[in-house]
């Protein structure tokens, strides 16, 4: 029963956000603030996660491809394509479900339980337009940027670890990456990151906006936002792969 209540309230929140988007011009500054918090501030952790994902993948792929007749450039092909199609988008989304999702749910949850959202409404603000819209739009706009950063960091990590461990020379890695590169793979990754950005920010806004019950309620909202975001990222990843590949 609670599931239907949650789905109904979530749809209602998103409907309110879309319906009130005409007056978004009033709060346009908020979106830039949120873009910095969601995108720019997340870059260090994303670059770190992407770099090590690419590095580990290169070492593991070279370990698995022990047969002598497989050219080393294959490692570059596998690592680069895996990063572009899957890992850059999914790893960064899972990391940001914790970082961005938890931040949004905590911010809005604290505002909800301390009556700050009521205060906004009672001043005449549309709290959904003011609080939810900028966060969701910032997620949708910035996640593709984050995806590109994660992919570049992953390639760099793969390249460097291949060179340092002697698993694959730089030239072979680059040759393999170039051989399989397809703009369609990048488009697929960007579409994924749009969807993941929406999932994380909208679920976290929903959980935070409707948080109740003081500090414990905010804690629960934050945990649920991160966990649900992760689950829906994995489900959406499967659906998008099924539909688009």
């Amino acid at each position: 029963m609670q599931l239907f209540v949650d789905v109904g309230r979530y749809c209602r929140l998103i409907y309110e956000a879309i319906r009130s988007s005409t007056e978004f011009g009033m709060y346009w500054r908020n979106i830039f603030i949120e873009m910095v918090k969601t995108g720019f501030d997340s870059l260090p952790i994303i670059i770190l996660a992407g770099f090590f994902t690419g590095a580990v993948m290169t070492i593991q792929t070279s370990y698995q491809l022990v047969a002598g007749f497989i050219p080393p450039s294959t490692i570059g092909s596998i690592v680069s394509q895996s990063l572009l199609i899957e890992l850059a988008a999914v790893i960064s989304a899972l990391v940001l479900a914790g970082r961005v999702g938890a931040r949004i749910a905590t911010e809005l949850g604290t505002m909800a339980v301390s009556e700050q959202i009521d205060a906004l409404e009672s001043m005449g603000f549309n709290s959904v337009t003011f609080l939810v819209m900028p966060r969701v739009l910032a997620g949708i706009f910035m996640f593709p940027v984050i995806y590109v950063a994660a992919a570049v960091a992953g390639m760099s990590g793969g390249l460097l670890s291949g060179y340092m461990t002697g698993a694959v020379p730089v030239a072979d890695f680059m040759l393999g990456a170039r051989q399989v590169f397809s703009p369609a793979d990048v488009s697929f990754g960007i579409i994924k990151s749009f969807v993941f950005g929406y999932i994380i920010t909208s679920i976290s806004c929903y959980k935070g906006y409707f948080a109740t019950g003081g500090a414990e309620g905010v804690g629960q909202a934050t945990t649920q936002a991160a966990v649900l975001s992760c689950i829906y990222i994995l489900v959406a990843d499967f659906v998008l792969a099924f539909l688009l590949l």
């Binding site: 301390s114 009556e115 700050q116 009521d118 205060a119 009672s122 001043m123 005449g124």
Partner: protein, 244 residues
């Protein structure tokens, strides 16, 4: 004038109160009293439509606030200033910016005019030197005063106070009571004070509404309250350790 007619509210199976009816005249200060959980704050949140009732009406100058569209409702809400129980200051901005906040979005003022209006409000609550302090750096009483300054900065017609003296020491409570009286007199504002502090009620209120046993148990002037023999009201006042 605010008319509350046959208002009933429940949350799920829990009835909060039913059939509440009372009038609040222009310029009057009404205190709504009752035990914790009697639905005082819930009643307040119906006046500016932060909550909707199960049935009944709230008429403001004849307009049923539950029937108007959201865009118009937001305009109507700007006629209300609200001092929330915990002040509900935005903790990411300074106290000054909290007061300036509604002006930046809902007024045509330039920065100088905004500054002038903010300082005027802060002076009214005796906090002209608040500077760039954030809400985290303020005491409970100061937070309430900043909340009050923010509530009056748009020059509302109605002021809603939710437990304005709760959690404050007696001296600070008295300062807040003085401010409530000062607001009502200086700005000629209609005030609704949600409280269980009888000292505050006797100082600031013209009329009193007592919520008890899921209904409006008693309603009248402060003088009538002093002479009332209503058993539950007398028990409530006695439990407040206040003699009238």
């Amino acid at each position: 004038m605010i008319e509350i007619k046959n208002l009933t509210k429940s949350f799920g199976p829990n009835l909060i109160w039913e059939d509440v009816s009372l009038d609040i005249e222009e310029g009057e200060t009404l205190a709504v009293i009752g035990k914790s959980g009697s639905g005082k704050s819930v009643l307040m949140k119906h006046l500016n439509v932060l909550l909707y009732p199960d049935s009944g009406e709230v008429l403001i100058n004849g307009l049923n606030v539950f029937e108007i569209r959201y865009a118009r409702l937001r305009k109507l809400r700007q006629q209300f200033g609200v001092l929330f129980q915990g002040a509900a200051l935005f903790d990411s901005i300074t106290a000054y910016e909290n007061v300036a906040f509604p002006l930046r979005f809902f007024s045509e003022f330039n920065d100088d005019q905004i500054h002038e209006r903010v300082m005027e409000s802060l002076k009214l609550v005796n906090l002209a030197d608040i500077g760039k302090k954030t809400p985290a750096e303020l005491s409970g009483g100061m937070k309430k005063r900043v909340g009050l300054a923010r509530a009056i900065v748009m020059k509302p017609n109605y002021l809603l106070y939710d437990e304005p003296t709760s959690g404050l020491d007696p001296q600070t409570s008295d300062e807040i009571n003085d401010l409530i009286i000062n607001m009502a007199e200086t700005l000629e504002i209609t005030s609704i004070v949600i409280t269980h502090d009888m000292h505050s009620v006797l100082r600031v209120a013209d009329k009193v509404a007592f919520l008890d046993k899921q209904k409006l148990s008693w309603y009248g002037t402060v003088d009538e309250m002093r002479q009332s023999t209503h058993q539950d009201l007398r028990a409530f006042i006695k439990a407040s350790e206040y003699t009238i």
